[in-house]
Subunit: 339 residues, 2 copies
Amino acid sequence: MATIKEVAQHAGVSVATVSRVVNKSGYVSVSLEERVRTAMRELNYKPSALARSLRRQVTQTIGVLVPQLDQPFFSTLAFAIEKTLFGQDYRALVCSSEESREKEDAYIDILLRQRVDGVVLAPTGHNTENIHRLVDGGVPVVIVDRNLPHVPVNRVLTTNYQGAWSGARHLIELGHCRIALIGSAPHSEAMNHRLEGARQALIEAGCPPPDDMVVVNTLPEFEHSYQSARRLLDRPPEKRPTAIFALNDVMAMGVYHAASELGLTLPDDLSVVGFDDIPAARYIVPGLTTVAQPIYQMGEAAALTLIRHIQDDSLPLETIELETRLVVRGSTAPMEPHR
Amino acid sequence: MATIKEVAQHAGVSVATVSRVVNKSGYVSVSLEERVRTAMRELNYKPSALARSLRRQVTQTIGVLVPQLDQPFFSTLAFAIEKTLFGQDYRALVCSSEESREKEDAYIDILLRQRVDGVVLAPTGHNTENIHRLVDGGVPVVIVDRNLPHVPVNRVLTTNYQGAWSGARHLIELGHCRIALIGSAPHSEAMNHRLEGARQALIEAGCPPPDDMVVVNTLPEFEHSYQSARRLLDRPPEKRPTAIFALNDVMAMGVYHAASELGLTLPDDLSVVGFDDIPAARYIVPGLTTVAQPIYQMGEAAALTLIRHIQDDSLPLETIELETRLVVRGSTAPMEPHR
DNA sequence: GCCAATAAAGTAATCGTTTTCATTATAGTA
DNA sequence: TACTATAATGAAAACGATTACTTTATTGGC
């Protein structure tokens, strides 16, 4: 791969002149500019981002660290971030920690070594020490989706509590009272807020969920939720919940699956509400009523906030809270009178 | 962020010694090593990957360029690649071309400038010129999922033709004959092979699909497929297909949706087969019968092949073909006798 | 006790850019 | 005409590592 030196030689000028042409900086006569441009073309010259970054002390690269790239919520988020960054002439180094503390730590180390200009982080929540390593290294950080207390970083969050409250409220208004909650990941603040919001709405309505109607799994995945739903639904009708609020959409799919296996039809025999509004929520039959997070806007806001803070390090830290919104589809229906 | 020079000063040694400690290369006495290590710890030293890459002329970074990061197939693929690379001490620069030729071109340019050691590419198929730019730049490439003729690169493909053949065959064996096909993206070789394979199976069985039973949309997405399925199914029963083979799972979801809107129940009124086996294929109700691609293995094979070719540039080009496999779930059933 | 390995450390060149500084030519101004 | 901006270029010093070369001690074999 040709270097700037070779281009300079080939055009019969100094490297400084080539650099000026490449960066459109300083003075360079039209005749020389022309010669340099043809030389670049002939040698198929691509300036080395490495050398440039080393000299300029900026990399135009952002670390994007999510817990699970193969989960719809996070892949959509990563996509939105990547797309926004591209428009602002930044690159994304996408990393997936697989909910593992070790891998998250390892990746943060790598991002520091790569001298990324900033990091968008959906933390596993296992610890905050590694985030301090970034902050101490002078790297601007914005955390997204999951909040972590006591770290001096920017935040893009959604109204998890209120969203869950309105999801539960929706079921109440449809006449349901025997409502089960399926949550997960005790170390995720977002999940905890959702649980609290939903529980609060039920308490307010005079339908406080007994302990056997609230399950909190270790992982927010299909399989766990499916198993939980089987246990919840495999009871005599008068003890069975008439509605289940799964605190993310993938878990709601687990409920669909369990219901179908037990011969229950949605929404007649069971109403289901999810959280997130991943694409599949619309695809599935019946369409999933869910508390939508504005995933795309979250990614966009995170990327733009980060860039703003990179370009002006005197900016005070920001917390952006985006609204969740209840999207009613076919998976919820009024409680049937005879129950 | 501390530099090697500062560490050297702080430890009272030369930079060469620090470098030797960092890389465990050459000789260094235990006493000095100890001093260097504490200096590194005290200054929170992280070697600059930029400077190292510049000097060593390798970046340990791989470009991963997919058409749509927010599509389940590609996010799972990217995840698998990223995970495999991490295990081999490589980083992934993940890029999403959004099926756009311009963005694909722009990203290839960026990858060249970033001096990535190699590229895994699921091409949009719009052109091959940009791939030649990579090859000419001496960058090892492996293309995955979609094939492109006449480019000297490695390939990881699946048996699209045979897979589609067996998917169609499955429907034939269940007694179906009025079978519609929904495909897309005329510029994707994978899709074309699937179409051919499916059509061939139908022809062999004496059920050649008439033109109005084969639709090829511009994009392989839910919405397009949903619209197509509406048109296919909104006919009198005797002209309506008894089965639809959608050539990817997301499109199969579109069929589910259309069927449900028209009051048809799966699999009694309509059998549906998909292609890919994305996670949602298992989640959805009824479970989607589909031709599974080994997505994870594809990503793994692509990453490992690439690394092998990076580490030994005398290796001949490889084409790896992985087997697709029919996974029968609840969306297909024998043709009811009365039809 | 001498010589050749080997161990241990440092000096300085190098990777490919950008950018400061210096130098010269040219044009504009008093 | 002399002087000062400004235009146009190049030389050379960074940026932060790695590594080829030196140099000096230390050890072991004879």
